[in-house]
């Protein structure tokens, strides 16, 4: 295990963590502000990936496809909000789970019908292809570095918006006492719509930037949704900074764990045993982390202020 490999793993983990943050941010805001549990949030990630695939094929240019995909992701999110979700805010969580489960089934199948069940890939945009020399032995793909940069920029922008703008203030107020905010003359429904649209667009954006790295396939949003849930439990529901810390933590632990678990176990057990339990343990690590956090801090690492 060389230092170079460790560095690569850390960078990959950071990148995965930032991707998770983009998804978890929308999920945690939608839940924090509206108390709405949206299982279909992961599907927005898949939608983003398919959109960039379709628009790249259509326009032949990654950048125009990026703009078109973001707009479409926002519109699809708003359409879903208008057609289905806004009827569910007052309903029980069970109803919300069921209806959003129906939407997952529908969109996964639709993706399969439109694009086929096989995995698809798109090329990285030309300017960002290739790799750069980081240390003497370490070359790292530019595209991955760019996603780390964009992810960090998004995180900072989101944090500043929530903390220092009027909209951010309303979102924070709306998440604790929506009735009071409405009574003060704020159109709370419109606020919900903005939060929802932005959340959907962030998840779509995550799908877009993930598309050149990971495979595009139906159901790709389901697993990442569950990881995003783990992230917001660890971070504290409704908290953007919690989601950020937890996402990076989960990204790093998962990536490092998958590569190192077998190796570390082989110090203790003999190699055949390590080979057997290593992968199993690695895939369980983040859940074990979640369980541990729950035992010691049931409200998460950085719970949102005033969240009930």
């Amino acid at each position: 295990m060389s230092f170079t490999l460790f560095l690569i793993l850390c960078l990959n983990g950071l990148q995965y963590g930032l991707l998770l943050f983009l998804i978890a941010a929308g999920l945690t805001l939608v839940f924090g502000v509206m108390g709405f549990i949206n299982l279909a949030h992961g599907v927005q990630y898949m939608v983003g990936a398919y959109l960039i695939f379709a628009f790249t094929a259509l326009t032949g240019n990654f950048w125009s496809a990026l703009i078109l995909s973001l707009v479409m992701a926002l519109l699809i999110g708003l359409l879903l909000e208008y057609a289905v979700f806004r009827h569910l805010y007052e309903r029980s969580h069970l109803d919300q789970v069921l209806a959003t489960f129906g939407i997952i089934i529908f969109l996964n199948e639709l993706a399969k019908v439109l694009f086929g069940p096989a995995t698809l890939t798109i090329a990285t945009p030309e300017i960002l292809s290739g790799s750069i020399q980081l240390t003497e032995q370490l070359r790292y793909p530019v595209y991955r570095l760019a996603t780390i940069g964009v992810g960090l920029a998004m995180a900072i922008a989101l944090f500043l918006t929530i903390s220092y703008t009027r909209t951010g203030m309303l979102i924070r107020a709306g998440s604790t006492t929506p009735e009071m905010v409405a009574a003060l003359g704020v159109n709370i429904k419109q606020l919900f719509r903005i939060v929802f649209g932005v959340g959907a667009m962030l998840a779509g954006f995550a799908g877009i930037i993930a598309a050149p790295i990971f495979a595009i396939e139906p159901g790709m949003g389901d697993n990442i949704l569950i990881i995003a849930f783990v992230v917001i439990i660890i971070g504290g529901v409704g908290s953007i900074s919690g989601a950020f810390v937890a996402a990076i933590l989960v990204g790093l632990i998962d990536t490092l764990g998958r590569s190192l678990a077998t190796e570390l176990l082989s110090f203790v057990f003999d190699s055949s045993v390590a080979n057997q339990i290593g992968p199993a343990l690695a895939s369980m690590l983040i859940y074990i982390l979640m369980a541990a956090i729950l035992v010691f801090r049931p409200k998460g690492l950085l719970p949102a202020k005033g969240a009930s």
């Binding site: 069970l94 069921l98 489960f101 129906g102 939407i103 389901d222 569950i226 979640m290």
Partner: protein
Amino acid sequence: MDRGVLIGGIIFGLLLAMPVILPIVGANYLSGLLIKAMLLAIAALSLDLIIGHGGMVSLGHAAFIGIGAYATAISLENGIEEILLLFLIALGATASIALVTGVLALRTSGVYFLMITLAFGQMTFFTLTSLAAYGGDDGLTLWSLATLFGSDIVQEGEGLYFFVLVILIFTWIGVWRISRSRFGRVLKAARDNPKRAEVMGYPVARYQLIAYVIAACIAGISGLLLVQYAEFVSPSIAAWQRSGDLIVAIVLGGLGSRNGAILGAFFIVIMEEFLSSIFHEWRLIYGPLLVLLVLYAKGGLSDLILPKSSGGGA
């Protein structure tokens, strides 16, 4: 006489008569479908105990089906074939895992509980896929099946059918008796107002944990029977979408009602069979149908049959 019992009686009467009726009308393939529906119904009944009666929305219940199924399959691979012994093994495995995950998950409630059960379910799923010695991702085909006192009567055909039916009836009676008992009433009190139940001196968390473990055990049994029926086991039976299907079944049927879980399970299995036979991409219909049902049909199927359902919903 209670109409819930009457409807339950009619359902079980029909199921008992099916092995006689089906060969006459020439629809033998249906008995496999009915076994599938009964297995789903057993798991759905157990989930209704915690969601309908206990108000704990778990989205990881299929994991216990998977644990029961894998405990059975692994024991069968190792030469344990007596079904009563397998019951004990499946129960032990599901109960112990449910106890650990339950203690952790019940530190929370509401949506947190939902997310945590989902995460534990997913953890189980990935653990099962990494069992390389027992098929990993691809699953495991079983060459030997369970026997009852050394006889192969419970392995296929009518023997298996009636065996599953008997267990379904026992589950039906058991879940209802639990929900009517003092234990069940405390559970419902905790669902409706946990603080008040706590103040009245009931250790709410302990009651909920016991219900969670009981439900997991029943789901584990349905996993055991699923192995016996399919002669095959794969991690996909523990996928979170299966947990979603179970929730669909109990909500469709009517939460906390006597026959709702059974009606919902049969409705799902039959509708899936029907839709997929006419339309390959049947999920394009199924998904929006769920959304419409949530938006416009509250109360579930048992309310359609029995408009003034006495079992309260959540």
